[in-house]
C-alpha cells in the first residue's frame, strides 16, 4: 500500500490482449484452478495430505455455505461494502475535485500539487495510528483510511487527464467561440471521461485493498474480521472463505462500475472487433 503500489494500480489498466485471448479460448482459464482444486481434494481424501492448514475445496465450500446460511456472511459483507462505499465516495469525490483544480489552474497546481505529491509518498498504513487518535476506533477511522487510499489514484488520474486534453481539439472549441462553461461541458468533460473512469476503477481496487487493512486492525464485523477470527481460532477454511468473498465482492463492484460507465464510452468501445 505504498506509493509504488498505488502507481502500479493507476498504471494497471485492464490490458486488451488477455481479454481477447480469454474470448478466443473461452473457458480455458478455468482449467488450471479447477484441476488444482480437484487434485488437492483427491490428495486429502486419499490421506496423502492431511489438509489441516490448507483445507480442501469441499471443506471451504461447506464453511462458506454455513456462513451464508446463518446470515453471518451477509452481515460481514454488508459491513465491508458499506465501508468501501463510504471511503470510495469521499476519496473519489475529493480526488476528482482537487484533480480538476490542479489540472485546470496552474496556480492551484503550484500551490497544492507539491504537498499532495509529498503526502502520496507516505505509506498509507502509517496514517492508521493517527486516524485512530483523531477519529476513534470505530467506523470513521476505517473510512478515512480507505478514502486516503482511493484519493490518490483518482487525483492523479484526473489531474493528468486534464493536462493531456488535446490542445488541437480545444482550439476547435475556440473557433466555435465556446464560452468557459460551454468549453468545459462540451469539450473538456467528455475528453477526460475515459481517463476519469479508469482512475475510479483503480481507486475502487485500492479501496478494497485498504478495507482489508482497516478491518484486520480491529473490527467486530466485516470480511476482514472474518480473516482475523479464522486466524485466532485456527480455522484456515474460514480465512479462505473470507478471501474468496473479498475476491467475489471486488470483482462484482468493479463490474458494476464498468457497467455504469460503459454507456458513456460507447464511442470508444469499438474497433477492437473491427480492426
Amino acid at each position: 500500500m505504498s506509493a509504488l503500489e498505488i502507481e502500479r494500480a493507476v498504471a494497471g489498466r485492464t490490458p486488451v490482449a488477455p481479454a481477447r485471448a480469454s474470448r478466443r479460448f473461452g473457458l480455458a482459464g478455468w482449467l488450471l484452478p479447477i484441476a488444482l482444486a480437484a487434485l488437492w481434494e483427491m490428495l486429502v481424501r486419499a490421506g496423502i495430505a492431511n489438509g489441516r492448514l490448507m483445507p480442501p475445496p469441499s471443506v471451504v465450500g461447506k464453511t462458506l455455505w454455513s456462513l451464508a446460511a446463518s446470515g453471518e456472511l451477509l452481515t460481514h459483507a454488508n459491513a465491508t461494502l458499506w465501508r468501501v462505499a463510504a471511503g470510495f465516495g469521499l476519496g473519489a469525490g475529493a480526488g476528482t475535485l482537487l484533480g480538476a483544480l490542479t489540472g485546470a489552474l496552474p496556480v492551484a497546481r503550484g500551490l497544492l500539487d507539491p504537498t499532495l505529491q509529498a503526502l502520496r509518498s507516505i505509506p498509507s498504513i502509517a496514517w492508521v495510528p493517527l486516524f485512530i487518535l483523531w477519529f476513534g476506533i470505530f467506523e470513521a477511522s476505517k473510512v478515512a483510511l480507505i478514502a486516503v487510499g482511493v484519493f490518490f489514484p483518482v487525483y492523479l488520474g484526473v489531474a493528468a487527464a486534464i493536462q493531456d486534453i488535446d490542445r488541437k481539439i480545444i482550439e476547435v472549441g475556440r473557433v466555435f467561440r465556446l464560452g468557459r462553461l460551454a468549453m468545459i461541458r462540451r469539450v473538456m468533460l467528455p475528453a477526460i471521461l475515459p481517463a476519469w473512469f479508469t482512475a475510479l476503477r483503480s481507486g475502487l481496487g485500492l479501496g478494497f485493498m485498504f478495507v482489508v487493512a482497516a478491518e484486520i486492525m480491529g473490527a467486530s464485523e466485516g470480511l476482514g474480521y472474518l480473516l482475523v477470527d479464522g486466524q485466532q481460532l485456527g480455522r484456515p477454511d474460514s480465512i479462505i472463505a473470507a478471501i474468496i468473498s473479498f475476491a467475489v465482492l471486488g470483482k462484482l463492484a468493479d463490474g458494476l462500475l464498468l457497467a455504469i460507465t460503459r454507456p458513456f464510452l460507447a464511442w470508444q468501445d469499438l474497433g477492437r472487433d473491427k480492426l
Partner: protein, 260 residues
C-alpha cells in the same frame, strides 16, 4: 472584404514569423498561400482565425479588426479534429447549438449529402477513413455558412485520389454560397486547381515573394495545356523563392564556420 495591413508576428521566443504582410482579398475570392516550410503560412492563417494576435498591423474583415474567433469565419485544419465522443451528425452540428433540434437535423442531413456522407449520421468518427473524417470537418465548417473560410493544408494527409474528389466536393460547396476562402497548401497543383490567386511566400521572416493571378476559368481541366502552363509558372515562382533563400543559409553556415 478581407485585408491585411502591414501584418507582423514575432513569437515570444523571438521567432520572426511574419513581416509586414499586406494583401487585399476580394469577396468570394479563393486565395492560396504557398511556400517552403517555415514561411509563416500557418501563422498567417491562425491570425486570420483570431487564434493568435498579430504583433503589429491589423486584419480587417469588412472593415472590422479580427481580434478573436468570429462566428462568420470557418476553419478547416490540417487534421479533421473531430470530437471522437460525438457522432458524425453531432460533430457537423457542433456550431449550431443555437438552433432547434429540428432545424439542426435538416441542415446536417443536407450538409452530409453535399459531402457524400448521407447515411453516416450515426457513425462514430473512428469508424470513418481519413478522407471521410476530413469531409465531416468540411461539412462542420461550412454548415454555419461562414463569409470567410480558412483552410490549413486540409488535404495534405490524404492520397491523390481522395484529394481530387475532395477538391470537387469543396468547389461544389463553395459555389453554393461563395464564401471568401484563404487556403494554405504546399501542393502547387492543388493551388492551381482551386485558387483564383496564388501568393508565394518566403521564410525568415515570412513575407510575400510573388503573386500570381490564375487565369483559368472553372471548371478546370487538370490535363489541359493551359493548366499545365499555369502550374509550371507557379512552380517556377516557388522554386525562385526557395533558391533566393539558399545563399543566405550558406552565408550563415560560413559565418558559423569562420567563428570556429
Amino acid at each position: 472584404m478581407l485585408s491585411f495591413e502591414t501584418l507582423s508576428k514575432t513569437y515570444a521566443d523571438g521567432t520572426h514569423a511574419l513581416s509586414a504582410i499586406t494583401i487585399d482579398v476580394a469577396a468570394g475570392e479563393i486565395l492560396a498561400l504557398v511556400g517552403g516550410s517555415g514561411c509563416g503560412k500557418t501563422t498567417l492563417l491562425r491570425l486570420i482565425a483570431g487564434l493568435d494576435q498579430p504583433s503589429a498591423g491589423r486584419i480587417l474583415l469588412d472593415g472590422e479588426a479580427i481580434l478573436e474567433p468570429r462566428a462568420d469565419v470557418g476553419v478547416i485544419f490540417q487534421e479533421p479534429r473531430l470530437f471522437p465522443w460525438l457522432s458524425v451528425s453531432e460533430n457537423v452540428a457542433f456550431g449550431l447549438s443555437h438552433l432547434s433540434a429540428f432545424e439542426r437535423e435538416g441542415l446536417v442531413a443536407n450538409a452530409l449529402v453535399r459531402v457524400g456522407l448521407a447515411g453516416y449520421e450515426k457513425r462514430w468518427p473512428r469508424e470513418l477513413s481519413g478522407g471521410q473524417q476530413q469531409r465531416v470537418a468540411i461539412a462542420r465548417a461550412l454548415i454555419t455558412r461562414p463569409k470567410l473560410l480558412l483552410m490549413d493544408e486540409p488535404f495534405s494527409a490524404l492520397d491523390a485520389t481522395t484529394r481530387a474528389s475532395l477538391h470537387g466536393h469543396l468547389l461544389a460547396l463553395w459555389a453554393e454560397s461563395r464564401p471568401t476562402v484563404v487556403m494554405v497548401t504546399h501542393d502547387v497543383e492543388e493551388a492551381v486547381t482551386l485558387a483564383d490567386r496564388i501568393i508565394v511566400m518566403q521564410p525568415k521572416p515570412g513575407r510575400i515573394f510573388d503573386e500570381l493571378d490564375n487565369p483559368l476559368a472553372r471548371p478546370r481541366d487538370r490535363l489541359s495545356p493551359s493548366f499545365e502552363a499555369t502550374k509550371r509558372e507557379a512552380l517556377r515562382a516557388l522554386d525562385r523563392s526557395l533558391r533566393d533563400e539558399e545563399p543566405r543559409q550558406h552565408k550563415t553556415a560560413e559565418t558559423a564556420g569562420m567563428w570556429w
